[in-house]
Symmetry: C2
Subunit: 404 residues, 2 copies
């Protein structure tokens, strides 16, 4: 298995009793609970609270070896991977290396507009946000101070909405009384979306409610505006230039580059178009699961969310078990449990088949679901503690700039 | 005040009711509880658990402004500091920028041998330690694997002893069953000290007990051996070369470079030799406190530990108050509360006037003292939780490699 996210990890676990030798390869040492990454980025949780070492999670599964390595090359014909100095042969290969953000052909924007996919990204963003308020405090020029207190978030999917709502809460509450020369409550948080509504994957009425909740929290929502230029201290929306020192990117999808080495057709985001059983065309021993795979079920594309990756990983494992037992494989069927997104304090939306919620009730649901799905009892306890603390004090537990 | 460590922060707090305007300048945004830094470095605590934002600590003190800046220049004659674009004038100046490790004239060793002074250092060391075990697992060559499983710690003061003891526990217990191809229990942890005993600032019998406790934990102690060369994958002790991929430096003292800009005599470590009232010779309005100051009380040099820095900071504040009230200043008197050092699980030493402990009792004392002195109720709760977890499960809460 290449990739220790939801897809790869669930595939490994589903094979725990199988008479197979598994090797899980990931270039980081940990499994990351990505839905809460924005909380690390906004100083609400410490990085280790949402991650667990892969070999610790799998310590009791004796048929798996975990290697922290990069996959250099894949030789599909010979069924081999080159991993560092080592060549690994496989009977089955599951590729689950995920996707990241896309900059719509403007890779030069990457250095100005931080994306949020890994813990390293989250700590970088956290440092940028906290530094912005510090620089505003130390700044004597009022226009430059305003630029430090202006935050632009590009892309109003769940990640962008969560970042925006939390940033607004930080500015209006957490930091409100801690500065002497500047006023964080004057910070502008702009959420910029090229499409016509926020949370475009949710039902329209929930999108509308989310937009209202965002405004109530102090976020300025700009839909129907595409970003045309990004610099170190500005964004441009057509002929409008906004001075901002902190630009966060939460838009677009770009699949992992490993997808291009699988000699298979790709969609426009670089995702691998897989067969109904999630395998490569003409290579039934190679599966692609998670955000890296492009597949439609019942006419609708399977979304790039955690639930889907888990289901795909488990399904690929079942195909392998079927092959071992000389049984036929099934076709993948996606069970849609809907989606959740939080906006801020007592504000969230839940869009599930048969259940649509918004506001405080949705927020409680969101909290409970995320605690439940976190891996590791200790992590759950730590997150519960931090969230209870933040709720009652408005304080955030991880307001530390580590990088110099 | 320049510097938000124990010295600077205690000086600021001691002036909270004074009719003065205070500016606290620090290049990081947080106050760091340095005694527990080694725990972050060994993946036992998350970085935010031992730090708190300076402006959050001081939020209720209305006469202080906190600036996250570097001090560029000090004009002692004109009573001015250059801080970024801004010039700050002062009536009194307290310099408390501390000290770091010294490499005995071999600054080329810095890139190979990581020091431990800031949170950034701690995360770097954590990544190196965890990566070493991962690389050992992925390594096919047995000799290179041994080098990955060999850890060299230079300097057997409290920091070195704490790192060594904890590393041994990680190798023998925490990671013991989580690897398939390598065996972390075969890791060698070497504690190398040029002097004749570990913890040389402690009473000799406690040094001896600490050495025994270290050996029992699996640390190889090499006293009376000075390091003569350091490379990326070895250390040399005279004619003995040890292959190791992870070298941690916990030796020597080098004062903050700001000390050199105070036009005052320095000792051999670069510390500023101050007057009995902690001020500069001929400049009574400038104080130097904490690890940056060199002063002797009752014939003995005041050690560079947290307690001393707090006392000096408070004392400088009292001198300022005395000046304001036109009262004479006193001379600084250091109250020696002794020192504590922990070695590992149920192993520590306490060397206080009238109280010498070692073993489990000392360890309980050490735990209680460190929880008590941490700043912030939430931090105390989080550290208590992590320590309780680690005690009962041997697991460590922050085994995450964030850097790529």
């Amino acid at each position: 298995m290449v990739g220790g996210g939801f897809g790869g990890l669930w595939a490994v676990r589903a094979l725990r009793s199988a008479p197979v030798d598994l090797t899980l390869i990931d270039r980081s040492n940990h499994h990351l609970f990505q839905p809460l990454l924005y909380q690390v980025a906004t100083a609400g949780l410490a990085a280790p609270s949402i991650a667990a070492p892969l070999r610790h999670i799998l310590r009791r599964q004796s048929n798996v070896t975990v290697l922290m390595r990069n996959v250099e090359t894949i030789d599909l014909a010979a069924h081999r991977l080159q991993v560092g100095d080592e060549t690994l042969e496989y009977d089955f290969l599951v590729v689950a290396t995920g996707a990241t953000h896309a900059y719509f052909g403007h890779d030069e924007w990457i250095s100005h507009a931080a994306g949020l996919k890994t813990l390293d990204d989250a700590l970088t963003i956290r440092a940028r946000i906290l530094t912005a308020f510090e620089r505003a405090e130390a700044e004597v020029d009022p226009r430059r101070r305003d630029a430090w207190l202006t935050f632009a978030i590009i892309g109003a999917g769940p990640t962008g909405v969560e970042l925006a709502g939390t940033l607004a809460e930080i500015a209006r509450h957490t930091l409100a009384r801690e500065f002497r020369r500047s006023d964080p409550r004057l910070a502008r948080v702009l959420l910029i979306e090229a499409g016509s509504r926020v949370l475009s994957n949710f039902a329209p009425d929930l999108s509308a409610k989310a937009a209202v909740q965002l405004s109530r929290l102090g976020v300025t929502v700009r839909t129907g505006r595409a970003v045309t230029a990004v610099g170190s201290d500005f964004v441009e929306l057509g002929d409008e230039r906004i001075a901002t020192q902190t630009i966060l990117w939460a838009a677009g999808v770009a699949a992992s580059p490993l997808g291009r080495r699988l000699a298979a057709p790709l969609d426009k985001s670089g995702r691998v178009i897989v067969q109904p059983d999630l395998s490569l065309p003409a290579r039934p021993e190679v599966f692609v699961v998670g955000d890296l795979a492009a597949i439609a079920c019942e006419g609708r594309p399977v979304p790039g969310i955690a639930t889907a990756a888990k289901q795909m990983g488990t399904f690929a494992a079942k195909c392998i078990l079927a092959d071992i037992a000389a049984r036929p494989r099934n076709a993948f069927r996606y069970r849609d449990y809907g989606a959740l997104a939080t906006i801020g304090r007592r504000a969230a939306v839940v869009d599930m088949p048969g259940l649509k919620l918004s506001g405080t009730l949705a927020w409680c649901f969101w909290l409970a679901a995320h605690i439940y799905f976190l891996i590791g009892f200790r992590n759950r306890l730590a997150v519960l503690l931090d969230w209870a603390w933040a709720y009652f004090t408005y304080d955030r537990s991880a307001r530390i700039i580590v990088r110099s």
